[in-house]
Structures are given as structure tokens and as C-alpha cells.
């Protein structure tokens, strides 16, 4: 065992190499850095950059088929590459804590929160059960859980994603680790919750003197929180140093490209007034809530509560708000994908909220939807060509050769020429999203709803997709309802912005009005939570 006598360096990686055993491909190629006590280091990169692998290798949590092939990892001077499995087990949780990306699955749904929190303390300390409980309650209080005693006796599903991530953070920080590894801890959360969780994480780490290793693709977070940053691309470090320095004055072309890819506001283009394509008046969407008792009445939860909205031809309206604000339900109800609980939907002046048969079919032909998750929106058994061809089957006037030609044309438009014979799983996330867009626009729709179309994608890919979207809209002039929690993307693409909170529109206006002169408190909070470089 090698001991380096440098007490305030918590973690030191020395030329770490990680490779896939089956193909021999290097996933991480010579990563070196050192992290001092109480410091905040961010590893930035896009998917496939090896940042997650590097983080996981520290506690030997690499997936099967991936191993450390060279270099060394020192935790407080102790080599972890040489350490025994038992030694690592003692370090995991105790000395090194880890917070994962998916709050929905990182807590065991079958075990009460209290037991899950106590588990770590029982393993790593000799505290009694009452002491453990007292500590858990204190810790939950410090992550601002309202009723900690009740929280301990509850199951994870009773909490929202943000609360679960805070519970996760509490249970990790309770052991006072010297190093906290946070792998995209807030990526799955909306803007406001993201801010809350990160602020708590930083505060707790400062208070306990914990060093933090943050894995992220969000440059805004790096700018706001990190002392130092490392930019990785395809397994290699392309740039490292002081975070602010890197962001303000990037040297490497890849870093420049990343910063370049950040959405920014484009000058407002004056558009001639156009007739509305889709209008809703007093739209409501209700969900039945499960009865609490056998004889109780079924109560309803109102996801969209009396929304008025008009989307004009060629215009992009962004709907923003935190998770659960009803923005997705609004989009789905507009397309008649979910039943509306009242109100009017007009398509080109005609009411279609109760339309059935051919009227509904006609409306469907004119409207399309782009989904958030490019991985589940393509049928895995169909080739790209078939997927894009299918919508055209509903245009009986079109000949087979014209359809084929249209498919080729649209694939060209979205930048995927010659992809007809491929399957979805052969494509990257960005390419899949292009296919989904191609499917949506192949029939030249009048109205497209895009539900978080870029939030599952990498930064540079996001920028490409947003550009593509704007370009297609310019060419084909469809109206667009852009649903997002990402204010940066909205700022780039929207003409008008609607802010929703618990089913109601709290503020709406032109993009510049909303971003420069927000009126409502909620809008102000959203804007304040936004991270920027």
C-alpha cells in the first residue's frame, strides 16, 4: 500500500485509465487531478466522455466489462486500486459518500426512509438506535424536510423527486464523509428544485469540510459552485484549472464549443400578425385521485385549471414551470390525447374538443407531438424509413413514390440523409430526436407540440436540435408549443412565454417581457434559479 503524506489532499487520481474489457476501448485515458479538503471540483463532459466511469472507479463501482487498466487512485493518501474489497466496503458510505442521478430509483421503495437512513450509521458507527434516530431527524431538518419524524416512518414513493434527492443527500451527509461524489445529482429535477438541492449540498459540504466531486454536463452549475473544473471529451482531459477561468477564457476548442452551445437569446424577429391555429378557452384537465376509503368519493386533482391560450401560425409559445405545474397535461389535452375536463379547443376556428371520427382524424393529421425521451419514442422493431413513412399512409392522395420522396427529403432536412435502413437503437440520442422531429414534420403539420424535446440531450446536441427546430419552423411555418423547464432553451427559441404554476397561467407575455421584466413572484423565482455562465 502506498501512502502519500499529504494530509489535506482528499482525493488524488494519477494517470487513471479505464477500459472496456471486451473491446479494449479506452473509456478514460490518463485522468489526473487532486482534490483538497473542502474544495469543490466539477468534471464536465457530454455523454461518452468517461466522466461517470471515472467517478465510479473511485469506489470500484464500475459496471461489469469495464476495468481500471492503469494509474492509481489515492484517497487521503491510501491507494484504492490496491485496496481489498473489504477495505473499499468500509470506505463506501463512511469516508466517501455518493449521490446518484435518479432520485426516483436510488432509494429502495420497499424500505422506510428511517431504516434506509439508519443503515449507514449502523454499519459505520457504534451509535445506539435512539441516537441514530435523533441524528436522522437533525439531518432531515438541516435539508429542510418539514416533518422529519413523519418522514422517517414514510416510504420513498410518498415524496417528490426533489425531496427524495434531499433525503438521499441527508443520508449520505449524515455519515460526515470526507469526499462526496455527486453524479449529475440534479439533472432529473426542475430548475427550482435543482437550485434548492444544490444549495443544500454546498452548504452541508462547507459546514462539514467535505470535498465535493461533481459530475455534470451543466456549465451553469460549474460556474456557480465549482472551485476547479476539468473538461473531458472522449475519455481525455481537454482542459483543467480554475472553474471561472476556464469558463471566462476557454483555451481548448472543445471547451469553446461547449460554451458556444449554451442557448442565448437571439434578437426578436418582428412577425406579421397571423391567425391563430389552435386556441383553448378555459381548458381544464382533471385526474381522478384514488379513493382513500372504500366508500369515499373519488376526488379529482385539477392538473390544468382554466387555461386560455392561442397559438398563432408560425409562432413558438413556450410553456414553462416546475414539475407538476400542468404544462405536460396542457400539451396533451390540446392534442386531444387525454380527455379534457371542460373548456373549448378550437382548431382554425372550429371547436374540436368533442370531435370524433373524421373531424378528429383531420385534426390529428394537422397536429404533431415531439417527445422528451428519444429512447422510447421510436418503435425498436421499425427501421427509420418505415417510422417516417408511416404518417404518410394517412394521406390517401399521395402516391407511393411521392411518399418515398418525401421521406428522403425530410431525412435530408433533419440532417440524417441515407438513414432509412437503420434501426433506432443504432443511433445516438440526438439522432433519434432528429428522427422524432422528422416523423412529426413529415406531413407538414400546422401545429407541433414539443414536450421537453431537448432536456434529455447533451449540451452541444441541444444547441443543434434547437437550431434545427427554429430552421424547420422558418421553412415550414408551423405553430409550436414548446414545453420546457429549461429557461435557457426557452430564451433562445420562444416568441412568447407562458409561466404556469399549479395548473394556472400566472404570467404570460413576449419573451423579452418575461425575461427582462418579470412581474409575478414565481416567474422571478424561476429566473433567479436559472444558472448561467
Amino acid at each position: 500500500m502506498t501512502i502519500l503524506n499529504t494530509p489535506d489532499i482528499v482525493l488524488k487520481l494519477d494517470n487513471l485509465c479505464i477500459a472496456s474489457t471486451s473491446s479494449g476501448a479506452l473509456l478514460v485515458d490518463g485522468l489526473s487531478f487532486s482534490l483538497d479538503e473542502g474544495k469543490f471540483l466539477a468534471i464536465v463532459g457530454e455523454s461518452g466522455s468517461g466522466k461517470t466511469m471515472a467517478a465510479r472507479s473511485i469506489l470500484r463501482l464500475l459496471p461489469t466489462g469495464v476495468t481500471v487498466t492503469g494509474g492509481n487512485i489515492y484517497l487521503a493518501g491510501e491507494s484504492l486500486v490496491a485496496a481489498s474489497g473489504r477495505r473499499l466496503q468500509a470506505l463506501r458510505g463512511g469516508t466517501v459518500g455518493m449521490v446518484f442521478q435518479e432520485p426516483m430509483v436510488s432509494l429502495n421503495p420497499a424500505i422506510k426512509v428511517g431504516q434506509q437512513m439508519a443503515e449507514g450509521l449502523r454499519l459505520h458507527t457504534t451509535l445506539s438506535a435512539t441516537e441514530i434516530e435523533a441524528r436522522s431527524i437533525a439531518m432531515l431538518q438541516s435539508v429542510q424536510i418539514a416533518d422529519p419524524v413523519r418522514c422517517l416512518a414514510s416510504y420513498p414513493h410518498e415524496f417528490s423527486g426533489g425531496m427524495r434527492q434531499r433525503i438521499m443527500l441527508a443520508s449520505v451527509m449524515m455519515l460526515k464523509p470526507r469526499l462526496l461524489i455527486a453524479d449529475e445529482p440534479t439533472t432529473a429535477l426542475d430548475t427550482l428544485t435543482q437550485l434548492e438541492v444544490l444549495e443544500l449540498m454546498v452548504a452541508l459540504a462547507k459546514q462539514q469540510g467535505t470535498a465535493v466531486l461533481l459530475i455534470t454536463h451543466n456549465l451553469g452549475l460549474v460556474a456557480k459552485y465549482a472551485d476547479n473544473a476539468i473538461v473531458m471529451c472522449k475519455g481525455k482531459v481537454v482542459e483543467s484549472g480554475e472553474a471561472r477561468q476556464i469558463l471566462a477564457n476557454p483555451q481548448d476548442p472543445y471547451t469553446k464549443q461547449l460554451i458556444e452551445a449554451l442557448p442565448r437569446r437571439l434578437p426578436t424577429v418582428a412577425k406579421a400578425p397571423t391567425p391563430p391555429v389552435v386556441e383553448v378557452r378555459q381548458l381544464r384537465v382533471n385526474y381522478a385521485v384514488r379513493r382513500t376509503s372504500w366508500f369515499g368519493k373519488t376526488s379529482t386533482h385539477c392538473a390544468v385549471d382554466g387555461v386560455d391560450l392561442a397559438v398563432h401560425q408560425g409562432e413558438t409559445i413556450a410553456v414553462v414551470g416546475g414539475s407538476g405545474c400542468g404544462k405536460t397535461s396542457l400539451g396533451r389535452a390540446l392534442l386531444r390525447l387525454i380527455p379534457n375536463g371542460g373548456g373549448q379547443i378550437l382548431y382554425q376556428g372550429q371547436p374540436i374538443e368533442d370531435a370524433t371520427g373524421s373531424a378528429l382524424h383531420e385534426f390529428r393529421l394537422a397536429c404533431q407531438l415531439v417527445f422528451q425521451d428519444p429512447y422510447s419514442s421510436l418503435n425498436p422493431r421499425m427501421r427509420i424509413g418505415e417510422i417516417i413513412y408511416e404518417p404518410l399512409l394517412h394521406l390517401p392522395m399521395m402516391s407511393a413514390s411521392a411518399r418515398q420522396q418525401r421521406v428522403t427529403e425530410v431525412l435530408g432536412e433533419v440532417g440524417l440523409p441515407g438513414f432509412e435502413r437503420r434501426f433506432g437503437h443504432e443511433l445516438s440520442g440526438g439522432q433519434r430526436q432528429r428522427v422524432a422531429i422528422a416523423r412529426a414534420i413529415v406531413r407538414r403539420p400546422a401545429f407541433v407540440v414539443a414536450d421537453e424535446p431537448v432536456s434529455a440531450l447533451d449540451m452541444t446536441i441541444q444547441a443543434q436540435i434547437l437550431r434545427l427546430f427554429a430552421e424547420l419552423q422558418r421553412t415550414h411555418g408551423f405553430a409550436c408549443l414548446f414545453i420546457s423547464h429549461d429557461l435557457a432553451a426557452v430564451e433562445q427559441i420562444a416568441d412568447r412565454v407562458i409561466v404556469m404554476q399549479s395548473g394556472k397561467i400566472v404570467e404570460q407575455g413576449s419573451r423579452d417581457d418575461i425575461f427582462d421584466r418579470p412581474q409575478h413572484d414565481y416567474t422571478k423565482a424561476l429566473l433567479a434559479a436559472r444558472t448561467s455562465v
Binding site: 472496456s20 466511469m53 469495464v66 397536429c367 418503435n379 422493431r381 408511416e390 437503420r422 437503437h425 416523423r439
Partner: protein, 277 residues
């Protein structure tokens, strides 16, 4: 996360499975036109003879040639099992897809009925149906098919439930596809992998159930040979003439092995994600 690509083995599953199933199927096919002896010809003078040059696998208690009977039995047994499984898969998939896709009261009614059927042991259900439709070859096919269909319904419905939440199903509705087209074009093809695995294991069970039914006297009626009734008939001679049980037993075992290996191969093959471009 890294997607660990599975490397394609020169598939031993396919090789062994296809050889076994192909070999036995070929024998069954030959038996339709030619067997060394007439499998039904009784000659009590040569009963229970051990394997010899004239009768390679000996003769049974009525002096019938075991090779000929095993060959003829292959045809009947495989045919019965194949049709029964086909029937179960067709009926079960139809019901399963409809129940899983539409949910609501359609699902509730279909599944209540299905669960009631599942509550009976398969063989008991088959027995009851046999009593109604009568003990003949087609009776068994219908009985076994109906007895296994509820399992197919369960598996298919479960798969459909997860598929229907996928966004490509919503996309299909957005495109303007009818429910029918969505089910056939988008839901059904994605159920194939679990179905293939289930169908192959059902085939094995059908072979065994056919022999169990024959054993109870409700199978393919004698004197027509099946592996099942050969096995059943050999019970009394287990000690004196062990070849009588070994031959059909081995046939069933080899067929099952072959079918299961083929099923594994099919499952991998049918999943486009495991096929390299």
C-alpha cells in the same frame, strides 16, 4: 452509461437445437410415408423382444416394432404439440393484446375470466375439455390449446402493459393510426421475444401433457402410437423390458432440449437490439 455490446457467438444454441429438432422432424416426416414395419401390426409371437438386428429397438408387449412406433409417434406427438401451442399462442396473444392495450372494463372482464381458467391446473382443465370435445387427436389439440392459452394471455398482457406506456405508442396515435393498426404494427411485434420463449417452453409441456393424457386414457386413442402413450404403455414392463420406456422418453427429452435451444436462439435473434448492423 456504456452499452456493453454482446458479441455474437457462433451460435451453439442454433446448431444443436436445429439439429435435434430438424432430425426428429425429418424422422416424423419420413414416418408418414415409410416405417421399417407397420407400427400397428400385432404379432404376439415376437412380443417383448430385446433390440436385435431385425428389430433395432426391440418390440413391445404386442410384438410391434418399437422403431416404427417411435417414428410414427414422432409425427403424431409433434403435430399435436405444435398445433396445441399454435392454438394457445394465437388465442392467448389476441386476448392478451386486447386486454393490455384497452385496459378498463375490457381488461377487467377478460382477465377475470382468464384468472378463473388459470386457477385450474392445466391438465385438469384439459381433461374437462376432453370430456366435452371427445378423446381424439383434435380434441387434445383444442384441450391443450385452451388450457395453455391463459398463460399466454398473462405473459402477453404484462408485456403489452409496459409497451403501451412507451412514447412510440402515443406517437402512433398522434399520427392518426387506428387502434387496430397501432396494436398490430407497434404493440404486437414488440411482444415477440417473450412469446417465442414462452411458446417453446409450452411446446415441451404440451408434449408431456399429451403423454399424461394418454396415460389416463384420454389421449390419442390406441392403437395409434404417440410418444406419450408408448411411454404410458411401457410402465408395466419397466423392469423386464426397459427399452420400451427409454425410447419414447429419450425422444421426448431430445425434442424438448432441441426446442428450448431453438427458443433461446430465436429470442436473441428476434431482438433487433442484439443484432449488429
Amino acid at each position: 452509461m456504456m452499452a456493453v455490446k454482446r458479441r455474437r457467438l457462433p451460435s451453439a444454441n442454433l446448431l444443436v437445437g436445429a439439429t435435434l429438432v430438424g432430425g426428429l422432424a425429418f424422422i416424423a416426416l419420413v414416418a408418414v410415408f415409410w416405417t421399417p414395419y407397420d407400427p400397428l401390426q400385432l404379432s404376439l409371437r415376437i412380443k417383448l423382444q430385446p433390440p436385435s438386428a431385425a428389430h433395432w429397438l426391440g418390440t413391445d408387449e404386442f410384438g410391434r416394432d418399437v422403431v416404427s412406433r417411435a417414428m410414427a409417434g414422432a409425427a403424431t406427438s409433434c403435430w399435436v404439440a405444435l398445433l396445441a401451442v399454435g392454438f394457445a399462442v394465437l388465442a392467448g396473444t389476441g386476448v392478451g393484446v386486447v386486454a393490455g392495450y384497452f385496459r378498463g372494463w375490457v381488461d377487467r372482464i377478460l382477465m377475470t375470466f382468464n384468472d378463473a381458467l388459470l386457477a385450474f391446473p392445466g391438465i385438469l382443465l384439459a381433461l374437462a375439455i376432453m370430456v366435452i370435445v371427445g378423446a381424439n387427436k383434435y380434441g387434445i389439440i383444442i384441450a391443450l390449446g385452451l388450457a395453455y392459452a391463459p398463460m399466454v394471455v398473462r405473459v402477453v398482457r404484462g408485456t403489452v402493459l409496459s409497451i403501451r406506456e412507451k412514447e412510440y405508442i402515443e406517437a402512433s396515435r398522434m399520427i392518426g393510426n387506428s387502434e387496430m393498426r397501432t396494436m398490430v404494427r407497434h404493440v404486437l411485434p414488440n411482444c415477440v421475444a417473450p412469446l417465442a420463449v414462452l411458446a417453446t417452453s409450452l411446446f415441451g409441456w404440451a408434449l408431456l401433457s399429451e403423454s399424461a393424457l394418454s396415460f389416463l386414457g384420454l389421449g390419442v386413442p390406441p392403437p395409434a402410437p404417440t410418444w406419450g402413450n408408448m411411454l404410458a404403455g411401457s410402465r408395466s414392463y419397466m423392469q423386464s423390458a426397459s427399452w420400451l420406456g427409454m425410447v419414447p422418453g429419450l425422444c421426448i427429452a431430445l425434442m424438448l432440449l432441441g426446442v428450448n435451444l431453438l427458443g433461446d436462439y430465436l429470442r436473441d435473434r428476434l431482438d433487433p437490439r442484439l443484432n449488429e448492423a
